[in-house]
């Protein structure tokens, strides 16, 4: 054999050290234990601090056409499947119609109409996000609900894409991954969304 010699001696020593470790390593000395615990505690404490300094909001993420949108979950009353709705004649096109939510009549608004987005057929996959404040309540038509997640407020500082008019007022911010977070309070307070027409 021309290659390396196997150093059996060294091998035996390493085996012995490993055995010793197995025998003692699981039961660290009290001092050692204290040190480890302290280390862990410090680590945890730091992580905690990091979380509190970063303010987050919980949003419900949904799709409009192919774009991602979000609304802060605190302003959402509920999300309801669009099982059936009644269109109304003579209302602006952004009003999809009326929906019966456990005996209450909710008007459903298709905000895609404000956003100048491509039409997508209404299907039974559509959901209605019901937002309300003390005096207004309305449903926002969503193509699909993606889920609930937390995002940091600091993330919402991305420059707005070319949004205009009514749309700009509704947007609270855009994240780096192009999630447009809508401002429910401003949607509810906006006069443009209220239909008031006399004959």
């Amino acid at each position: 054999m021309g290659g390396k010699e196997i150093d059996w001696n060294q091998l035996h020593q390493r085996m012995a050290a490993a055995n010793a470790m197995i025998a003692h390593g699981w039961i660290p000395s009290p001092a050692e234990r204290k040190r480890i615990l302290k280390e862990r505690a410090e680590l945890l404490a730091v992580a905690e601090e990091k979380q509190t300094t970063e303010q987050t909001i919980e949003i419900v993420e949904f799709l409009l056409a192919r774009e991602h949108y979000g609304i802060e979950s605190s302003s959402i009353r509920e999300v309801y499947p669009l099982k059936d709705y009644t269109p109304l004649p003579g209302v602006p096109s952004f009003v999809l119609g009326l929906m019966n939510v456990r005996g209450r009549i909710i008007s459903v608004v298709d905000i895609k109409r404000f956003f100048d987005m491509p039409e997508k057929g209404i299907s039974n996959l559509n959901k209605v996000i019901i937002i309300n404040d003390h005096k207004m309540e309305l449903g926002i038509l969503a193509d699909e609900i993606l889920g609930v997640r937390n995002i940091a407020i600091s993330e919402l500082d991305q420059p707005l894409p070319t949004l205009t008019g009514i749309l700009e007022k509704f947007v609270r911010g855009v994240t780096g991954e192009c999630l447009v977070v809508l401002d429910a309070a401003r949607i509810l307070a906006d006069q443009n969304i209220v239909v008031h027409e006399e004959v």
């Binding site: 059936d84 709705y85 009644t86 269109p87 109304l88 004649p89 003579g90 209302v91 602006p92 096109s93 952004f94 009003v95 119609g97 009326l98 929906m99 019966n100 456990r102 005996g103 209450r104 009549i105 909710i106 008007s107 608004v109 109409r113 404000f114 956003f115 100048d116 005096k135 207004m136 309540e137 309305l138 070319t162 205009t164 008019g165 009514i166 749309l167 969304i193 209220v194 239909v195 008031h196 027409e197 006399e198 004959v199």
Partner: protein, 772 residues
């Protein structure tokens, strides 16, 4: 102050406002009644207003509104003196007290008090002070209450013992907060007043109306559960029936040997199993029927109780009226005394709310036009003070509100001439009308701004609102009058916001509800009976021709195809009447009449043309309730577009193609046009526009000039070169303002050329309107 505290203070203030208005209304009402004399209840009244003033003072102090505290203090002193019998209520004192109440109202509403007001308040205080001191021999009100008064005050409530010093200097905010914290839940007095005179009021709790409304909604929703239970029971009965049928048929089938595939001894067909299935099914049918009956009874009872919970005495509305009348009559320089009756009748809160405006309108009318000026009254030999009486009575689940005045009355001849002048009725029609019918014309909106009875305009409008509001509640309003004797308005409305009868109709694929009270007749009409008069379709009803329109057209629905199909056979018509007008509407189908529970459309749809509300049908679907008054107005307004000629009928609401490459401009244009009621589709450049144009029909094209791929000039030229689009109007909207460009635009065949710099909504909309 941290935000939580500020929020709390805000909430507290809101609560105080509600409470304060209640107290002030009661005081004002009490003062008016006392002012009119009648000593029978006066002691009781003084007691009431005294308590109210005292409670208000306590409440005001808890939110640190020192001005109100001070005003209440003065009032309280006067009331205490009245109560002790030390002074009599003079007319001046009563007036001063009313004015004080007014200032309190203004303070409660958060109005700024000017320095001029302040001096008035000072004067009021001293006047009231004098009133008290006249007999008791005290000199100034600014002195603290006498020990006797204080004792009286303490008898009322022990709420704020330590604050009894009448003119406490402004307490620190912190103090007021502490105090408010323990005052707001309106703690029961630590010790019951030893001598609680008078009948014991039933125990009450204060609940936010929103909570009650939510409860009522849920209770109403139980109705659908009730209906569903009925349906389940019926389905089970049906199942049992077909099972019985199968049982009967089975032995026969066995004989003919149809059950080859099943072994005769198969456990499925052995009798013990079948009979147990039979028994179980029978038991289930019985149980379902029992459940249905008991749940129906429970739900009906709960709804009934729930509705009762929402009832308020009518006095809660009447109490605010004396003040309104006082203000109005003072402004008009007249004297009007108000008496009320039937304030103890309980009415649905929502009805009360809806009745507030009509009542105020009627009262305003009465003070403005009904009651004559003092001098005129004197020459007529009437007492100088006009009287107005509001009497509420209930009968058969309905209430009647009669508003009577002893004023000038309504001159029928003048109404007729005004109605003719405003072409509400023709001269012949007017001549034919009886007094009663003619009198009803004053509710007509067409007679709004006419000098009906006096030359002050506006009378008609108010009465139209009255009628609309009342009819919305499914009620009626009538008027009777005698010249120089007076006028009486009678409003009859339901006691509760109960269901009303609605007629369900289908137009295209949609269901609508029409209030049955407006449905005069439902019929099928053969095509031959429809006549065309002056290019309008009419039909003869009760010997008179009435116009015939398609409900789909009036609602601007896209149901052209459905309409053409039914043109062949007889048409289903429904004749709707509102006030004096009658119009026949063509619908696709009249389904049935049923109970309908009106639900509001919500804040986002604050008012929708032709639709007054919605209801939930038994299958859970929402059906809009049509507003008949609006429908008739829509017909009148768009009568030209409902002309009979097939070609002139609008197939749908007009649609516009917007071609614009800038997303901003595109969104802006779309928004402007849509809010003007057009249907808008967009395209990003000329080529896209051209393709879109071929995909469907448009009434007009609005296009930018500078665009990639194909510009506006090119697009216009292409449109013009296509035979199909020769007539299609094209509007060029552009930033180019040169004469050459304008000329080029005209050369290629554009119908209009609007320069963006002069681009405002009205300009564009005007142009479009002219072109379509």
């Amino acid at each position: 102050m941290d935000t939580k505290e500020a929020e709390f203070l805000q909430k507290l203030l809101a609560m105080f406002k509600v409470e304060a208005r209640e107290h002030l209304n009661v005081i004002s009402f009490g003062l008016t009644t006392m002012g009119e004399g009648g000593s029978a209840r006066s002691a009781e009244l003084v007691e009431t207003v005294f308590r109210e003033a005292h409670s208000l003072k306590g409440a005001a102090r808890s939110v640190n509104l020192i001005d109100i505290v001070n005003l209440c203090q003065v009032m309280e002193e006067v009331f205490a003196a009245l109560k002790g019998g030390r002074v009599d209520l003079s007319a001046q004192t009563c007036d001063a007290l009313q004015q004080t109440v007014d200032y309190c109202f203004r303070l409660v509403d958060g109005e700024e008090i000017t320095t001029a007001d302040k001096s008035v308040i000072r004067e009021l205080k001293s006047r009231l002070g004098d009133a008290v001191s006249e007999d008791s021999g005290r000199e100034k009100t600014t002195e603290p209450m006498s020990a006797q008064d204080r004792q009286l005050a303490e008898e009322v409530t022990e709420k704020d013992k330590e604050g009894e010093e009448p003119f406490v200097q402004k307490p620190e905010i912190t103090e007021s907060l502490e105090r408010s914290a323990d005052l707001t839940p309106s703690l029961p007095p630590e010790r019951q007043p030893p001598t609680s005179a008078g009948p014991v009021a039933p125990e009450t709790v204060r609940i936010a109306t929103s909570k009650l409304d939510a409860l009522l909604l849920q209770a109403e929703e139980m109705i659908s559960l009730k209906i569903a239970a009925g349906q389940r029971a019926a389905e089970l009965r049906e199942l049992k029936r077909s099972f019985d049928l199968w049982k009967k048929k089975r032995p026969r089938e066995r004989l003919i040997g149809r059950t080859n595939d099943l072994h005769p001894d198969s456990p499925l067909l052995t009798d013990p199993f079948i009979s147990s299935l039979d028994t179980r099914l029978m038991a289930m049918v019985r149980a379902a029927e029992y459940d249905q009956r008991s749940s129906a009874a429970m739900i009906d009872m709960m709804l009934d109780d729930m509705k009762k919970t929402l009832m308020l005495p009518f006095s809660s509305l009447l109490e605010m009226l004396p003040r309104v009348i006082r203000d109005l009559s003072r402004a008009a320089g007249k004297k009007v005394a108000l008496t009320t009756e039937g304030g103890d009748i309980d009415v649905d809160r929502r009805i009360l709310e809806e009745m507030k405006d009509p009542l105020i309108h009627l009262i305003r009318n009465c003070v403005d036009h009904g009651i004559e000026p003092v001098s005129e009254r004197e020459t007529k030999g009437k007492p100088a003070d006009g009287t107005m009486k509001i009497a509420v009575s209930s009968k058969d689940n309905k209430i009647e509100i009669a508003i009577t005045d002893d004023g000038a009355g309504i001159d029928v001849a003048r109404i007729k001439s005004a109605a003719v002048r405003h072409s509400v009725v023709s001269q012949e029609e007017a001549d034919k009308l009886g007094d009663q019918e003619a009198m009803h014309l004053i509710f007509h909106s067409g007679v709004t701004t006419s000098p009906l009875i006096t030359d002050i305009s506006g009378r008609g409008l108010g009465l139209t609102i009255v009628r609309e509001k009342v009819e919305k509640l499914n009620g009626t309003v009538a008027v009777d009058s005698q010249i120089d004797k007076g006028t009486i308005f009678r409003i009859v409305v339901p006691l509760t916001f109960a269901t009303f009868r609605g007629t369900l109709v289908r137009v295209a694929e949609q269901l609508f509800v029409l209030p049955s009270c407006n449905v005069e007749c439902v019929a099928r009409a053969r095509r031959e009976t429809i006549q065309t008069v002056e290019n309008r379709e009419t039909i003869v009803f009760e010997g008179r021709p009435i116009s015939l329109v398609r409900l789909a057209d009036v609602l601007q629905m896209k149901s052209a195809a459905a309409r053409r199909m039914q043109e062949k056979g007889p048409v289903q018509i429904i004749i709707l009447g509102f006030a004096e007008k009658r119009i026949a509407f063509v619908v696709d189908e009249v389904l049935r009449e049923q109970e309908v529970l009106v639900k509001p459309l919500g804040g986002q749809l604050s008012r929708v043309k032709n639709i007054s509300g919605a209801t939930v049908l038994a299958n859970g679907k929402v059906a809009p309730i049509l507003n008949v008054s609006d429908l008739l107005k829509s017909v009148a307004k768009n009568s030209s577009s409902f002309a009979a000629g097939e070609t002139t009928l609008p197939e749908k609401s007009l649609s516009i193609l917007v071609v614009e490459d800038s997303i901003t401009a595109r969104a802006l244009l779309k928004n402007i046009l849509e809010s003007a009621g057009y249907q808008v589709q967009t395209a990003v450049d000329g080529l896209d526009g051209l393709t879109t144009l071929k995909s469907r029909e448009f009434d007009i094209v609005v296009t930018d000039v500078e665009m990639p791929r194909m510009n506006g000039f090119e697009l216009t030229a292409r449109i013009r070169s296509d035979k199909k689009f020769m007539e299609l109007p094209v509007v060029l909207v552009t930033a180019l303002e040169s004469r050459e460009d304008r000329e080029r635009g005209i050369d290629v065949g554009a119908s209009a050329y609007i320069v963006k710099s002069s681009f405002d909504q009205s300009n564009l909309l005007e142009v479009i309107e002219r072109l379509i």
